[in-house]
């Protein structure tokens, strides 16, 4: 009995250990059936992927509801409050509506690009979850190039957006796609520089090590400037206000998603909000100490910190007007990158001579 309790406790507080037990036990039983162990590994991987997919879906449902509630509170509204208690199932209802909607493919679109757009966007967001440390040991694969992997994978989103913009055969969409390409490529650079500072401080690119190297309060106190730059740059990279130029609805109607409907539209929506969560999670991992924290299970701490960053991003989005496209570029190249570089150099010097 106590062993079981211990197992449950491990599952919450030291998930790596608990999963190791399951993994070993599974393999022992599997070996009894005389089957090759590789198949079991694949099955385990598929289960993990399914878990990640389920997490993305549920988390997106929640985060959309959260955003709608937060924006409503800021705007003196009530937000969704009809479906379920506090309207928590509003997103579920919306999703069902999107699923049963007709999936329109306009005649003049480039079918391959049109189809590939949402798929690529979704895939690239999905892939980030491979290295996301949800808790102690609760990580699919703690790659030793974690940070670079994240940067590389999120950069893929551009391809999807460009595909969508080009394939839609719509002038608004094309402008939206082009804008997003320029924007994401530019804002990748300050983001890289900021992450580089963190890597310098922790001495590792492995996300697990970065979390372990942080003091309990996180790097945010040592690197406030870097944190702000990270917030701005990642906000721009996930195309959210005030940097929502690619889908600026007052200028480009909806940018690259103008022609999409039904499930493909839902994919973009899902990707946008998952990206928002990823930005929040990265902020939590790099600056707020990841899953470390007292009393509560590591997973809870991770979610709380992530949602705190997400809340900051939402707060920014619902306060500011949209920036203009040339100012956006100027801001990245003339303000963010110099400051990020300066910050990097100063950090390097301090580390060297401390």
């Amino acid at each position: 009995m106590t062993a079981f309790m211990q197992f449950l406790k491990d599952l919450l507080y030291d998930s790596g250990k608990a999963f190791g037990l399951i993994y070993d036990g599974g393999h022992k039983i599997w070996a009894g059936f005389n089957l090759p162990p590789l198949t079991l590994d694949i099955i385990f991987l598929l289960i993990a992927a399914a878990c990640a997919a389920a997490f993305i879906a549920i988390n997106a449902l929640f985060i959309i509801w959260f955003e709608r509630k937060i924006s409503a509170r800021m705007q003196l509204r009530r937000g969704p409050n009809r479906v379920g208690i506090f309207g928590i199932f509003q997103t579920v209802a919306d999703t069902i509506k999107l699923l049963i909607k007709e999936d329109i493919t306009p005649k003049a679109v480039d079918k391959l690009a049109f189809f590939l757009g949402p798929l690529l966007v979704m895939t690239s967001t999905f892939m980030v979850f491979l290295v996301m440390p949800f808790g102690k040991g609760l990580i699919a694969a703690d790659l030793n190039i974690g940070v670079i992997y994240i940067l590389a994978v999120t950069g893929l989103t551009v391809l999807g957006l460009l595909c969508a913009g080009w394939g839609s055969n719509n002038k608004y969409s094309l402008i939206g796609g082009m804008r997003s390409a320029a924007q994401i490529v530019s804002y990748e650079i300050p983001n890289v520089l900021v992450m580089l500072t963190i890597v310098l401080l922790s001495g590792s690119m492995k996300l697990g090590d970065i979390i372990a190297a942080q003091p309990t309060v996180g790097y945010v106190w040592m690197q406030p400037v870097a944190f702000i730059i990270f917030l701005i740059a990642s906000n721009a990279e996930i195309n959210r206000g005030p940097f929502d130029l690619p889908e600026a609805e007052s200028e480009l109607v909806s940018g690259f998603i103008t022609e999409y409907s039904g499930m493909k539209f839902a994919f973009f929506f899902l990707a946008e909000y998952t990206n928002l969560f990823i930005a929040g999670a990265l902020g939590a991992v790099l600056f707020l100490g990841g899953w470390t924290g007292p009393v509560l299970p590591p997973f809870m701490w991770f979610m709380i910190k992530s949602y705190f960053v997400v809340f900051l991003l939402m707060w920014i989005r619902w306060t500011f007007p949209r920036i203009r496209v040339d100012h956006l570029m100027e801001f990245a190249w003339k303000v963010l990158i110099p400051i990020a570089l300066l910050n990097l150099v100063v950090t390097a010097f301090v580390i060297k001579f401390h």
């Binding site: 509204r77 007052s250 200028e251 500011f320 007007p321 949209r322 496209v325 100012h327």
Partner: protein, 375 residues
């Protein structure tokens, strides 16, 4: 470019392309269509196309009696119904030679100024939306709702009030109106400052509007631009001051002007105008006289033959009515001078060379109402 490019580069064919903005577009504020010629994101040419809701108002006026025209004037510029009524009503009263009682004049001024604030508030919220700030809209609509409630109290309708009658008002003000007005005046100035911090003085907003859509003094005058859009170009022209109508000569107010004639100046002028309207409201409320609310006018309105042009300062600029009477029950010809029509005609000179996002910002700063342009 002086030097010749290498042959491989010359082959690069870049194309300008036409983008159709509207008639169904979130930021053309109605069914206006703008054909943009784009080089990348830069505007090369702008051609507005309109007439999608042309209703032939002027023809309709010729077939209606003088008092029946008033509700139609509401429906040209639906955001400043009272000011349209105002221009028409004082025109017919001039033809008739009717002197309106002072109480009615004061009430007219109060309604017109409230209407101006209401219209500017809607402009501010919609402009916030145009530049991508959604939140101010919902704050501003609180105040707007208060004003609409006041209008509902007096006239019974929320947007197309049909408030004025020839010779004054049909019904006197209800008592609760002034309580509401006092409450509104007491907190409005503070809220206005808050919106100014939230939107107008925001650094992103400023970077989007300062130096954008500049129109020079001479060009603005030549295009017949009027109202806040003209005053943004540092021209102190205001019908309320230049040719005072109704009771406006009795109030002290300033005419705010901008300096450079860019989009931000136009916004700032509107913000300051709301403050001035507030001060006029205060003065009118304090000096509100007793007496009749309706002048004695004949039952069948037959103005003597003649013609008159009367203009008032609407929220968007000079609203004018050119009325020709031939002595019958119906006007011979009514021409509406609408501010948005002239304001829009200057769009091309403002936008060429700027970006798509600026077109939205410039159009928003002109505060266009499309039914007014089409009539």
């Amino acid at each position: 470019m002086a030097e010749k490019l290498p042959a491989s580069l010359e082959k690069l064919n870049t194309e300008e392309y036409l983008l159709n903005m509207g008639p169904q577009h979130p930021s053309t504020h109605g069914v206006l269509r703008i054909i943009l010629k784009l080089d990348g994101e830069v505007i090369k040419d702008v051609v507005p196309v309109m007439g999608y809701i042309h209703r032939g108002m002027e023809k309709m006026f010729e077939n209606r009696k003088y008092d029946q025209i008033i509700p139609f004037t509401d429906r040209t510029d639906y955001l400043s119904a009272v000011n349209n009524n105002f221009a028409y009503v004082i025109g017919v009263e001039k033809l008739l030679g009717v002197v309106v009682p002072e109480r009615a004049e004061y009430l007219r001024v109060i309604l017109a100024e409230l209407n101006r604030i209401m219209s500017h508030l809607l402009w501010l919220s919609a402009y916030g939306m145009d530049v991508g700030a959604f939140t101010p809209l919902l704050y501003i609509f609180r105040e707007r709702e208060e004003i609409i409630a006041m209008f509902e109290l007096i006239t019974g309708n929320r947007l197309t009030h049909n408030a004025f009658r020839l010779g004054g008002f049909k019904y006197d003000v209800p008592k609760t109106f002034f309580e509401k007005l006092e409450k509104f005046i007491s907190h409005f100035a503070d809220n206005l400052d808050e919106y100014e911090t939230l939107l107008i003085n925001n650094v992103i907003f400023k970077s989007r509007t300062v130096g954008v859509g500049v129109i020079t003094k001479a060009l603005a005058l030549s295009y017949g631009v009027s109202g806040p859009s003209l005053r943004g170009s540092d021209i102190k022209m205001d019908v309320r001051r230049d040719t005072p109508y109704s009771a406006y000569s009795k109030f002290v107010f300033e005419i705010p002007t901008g300096k450079n004639g860019d989009t931000w100046d136009r916004c700032e002028v509107r913000m300051n105008e709301m403050r001035q309207s507030l001060s006029i409201l205060q003065q009118a409320m304090q000096g509100f006289p007793q007496g009749d609310i309706m002048a004695k006018i004949p039952k069948i309105i037959k103005p003597p033959a003649g013609e008159v042009y009367t203009a008032v300062e609407g929220p968007r600029g000079e609203v004018g009515f050119y009325i020709i009477s031939d002595g019958t029950e119906k006007p011979y010809r009514v021409k509406m001078r609408v501010p948005s029509f002239s304001n829009l005609s200057a769009l091309k000179d403002m936008t060429v060379g700027f970006k798509i996002a600026d077109v939205v910002a410039i159009m928003g700063s002109l505060d266009l109402v499309i039914p007014e342009i089409d009539r």
